[in-house]
């Protein structure tokens, strides 16, 4: 975990690094993103059959992948914060529940969790429905996309909880004490003092989680979600050209992950203008 600058490094914000014209504004790694996009373009133009066909076929899968990743990630950010506050809570019950959540979830493979939510959870709901005599529950059917999102949120929320917790704990104890001794409540101190500082610390690992989630979202193809990976498999099963299909799918994932990586780097820079 990145450390905050030490108080001793006073005036570090004043240091200006010599720059050469506008060069400092352009991050050379964007070039890599452009390179991968270019290779897709070349493949599509030079050999439209099958590459253009593949691209058109998996297009809606890309939309699904992005939708699932972004929606789940927003929820994960919230779950992680609640989890972290729970882990740091002095309330025994809240602390135990959130600790159990983290420990149990992290011990089960994501794929198994997704399968459980899709195949086992609806049956549980139906049984409960029979028991309570509620027909809405008895007739419950899993919606593939929302079930997949729930599964991803539950799993990644546990990891995010630990990232936030570590970030909050990396803020020196004196910050909370100073805030409390000025009469702020715990919630006020968290909101105005601790979390704004913790965000800088957790931004890099949180960004990594986003990219990991983007990749892991390919697992939802196993539970009936027509994401990029599943669309690739569908295309292959009718055209039998694994090299072309999976190279294309890999390149599309690469564009998305590299692009996200640059976005994360750009945000980090905005929060740490001095580095």
């Amino acid at each position: 975990m990145d450390k905050q600058p030490k108080p001793g490094s006073r005036g570090s914000k004043l240091v200006t690094i010599p720059t050469f014209g506008r060069a400092k504004h352009i991050d050379p790694w964007w070039g890599l993103v452009a390179l991968v996009v270019a290779s897709i373009a070349v493949l599509v133009t030079v050999r439209p059959d099958p590459f253009r066909n593949i691209l058109l076929f998996v297009r809606d899968g890309v939309t699904v992948t992005i939708f699932i990743t972004v929606t789940a990630f927003v929820a994960i950010l919230v779950v992680g914060l609640l989890g972290a506050l729970g882990r740091l809570s002095r309330n025994r019950i809240i602390h135990t529940v959130s600790t159990l959540y983290v420990e149990l979830i992290r011990g089960i493979p994501l794929l198994v969790q997704l399968i459980w939510w899709y195949f086992a959870f609806p049956v549980v709901v139906q049984h409960v429905g029979e028991w309570l005599n509620v027909s809405a529950l008895v007739n419950y059917r899993a919606n593939a996309i929302s079930t997949a999102i729930v599964g991803l949120v539950f799993c990644y929320g546990a990891y995010m909880t630990e990232i936030y917790r570590a970030g909050i704990q990396s803020i020196p104890k004196g910050q909370m004490e100073a805030a409390r001794s000025l009469g702020m409540t715990y919630a006020q101190a968290m909101r105005h003092i601790i979390l704004p500082q913790a965000i800088r610390v957790v931004l890099p690992p949180v960004g990594n989680e986003f990219i990991a989630l983007l990749k892991d979202s390919s697992l939802v193809s196993v539970v009936a979600v027509a994401d990029l990976t599943r669309r690739g498999r569908e295309f292959m099963s009718t055209h039998f050209n694994p090299i072309e299909v999976w190279t294309m799918v890999a390149l599309i994932y690469l564009v998305m992950t590299l692009f996200s990586g640059r976005l994360v780097a750009w945000m980090e820079k905005r929060y740490h203008p001095e580095t």
Partner: protein
Amino acid sequence: MEGPVIRIENVHKHFGRVHALQGISLNVDKGEVVVIIGPSGSGKSTLLRCINRLEEYNSGRIVVDGIPLDSTQNINAVRQEVGIVFQSFNLFSHLTAMENLTLAQRIVRKRPREESQKIALDLFIKVGIPDKADSYPLQLSGGQQQRVAIARALAMNPKIMLFDEPTSALDPEMIAEVLNVMLVLAREGMTMVVISHEMGFARAAANRVVFIDEGQVVEESTPEDMFASSSNERTKLFLSKVLQI
């Protein structure tokens, strides 16, 4: 209100096996400046932190300005009456000096932004750094940071100010600028409890010096009596070590 403004009665505090406060009692009157001295680990900081309940104590009683430190409500009430200044400044590092002073005024005291900024500007002048309002803590020297920290506490209009070794993290040339601000406060009649081994400050400002050892008050008297003619062996031993430096 009559009687002591801080009343500490037979307070005990344990950190696991460490018995940090061993039945300590101390009263501080309104307008009084009390300097606390004592060896490292004797419980000075713990005592100070108990006064605004940054530390819980195990038994005994502390009453601040007539408010007993028991319920959460009372603890928040006391914290609004008591300002504390730490050895390590503890300025909010993501906020400018100005924001450090105005945040609690706005969200705790519910003052409008303009009013809180006006109060802050007056305090920056008072502590001698009128031009640093827009600086971030990391851009300030230690002495400037500590003066911002003092101003931040004063912005809440506390009745009592606590200082825990406010100058011991500072380079020698910065100590005076902080002590001078404290001296002005003392002259203005602020009730102050100061942990410090700056004998010059104690002589100039303290009504009373309290020597603490092993979680108890060993001796208390005027600075003159304490430094020149203490008859207590433990006090004399400690003072001989401190005054040597």
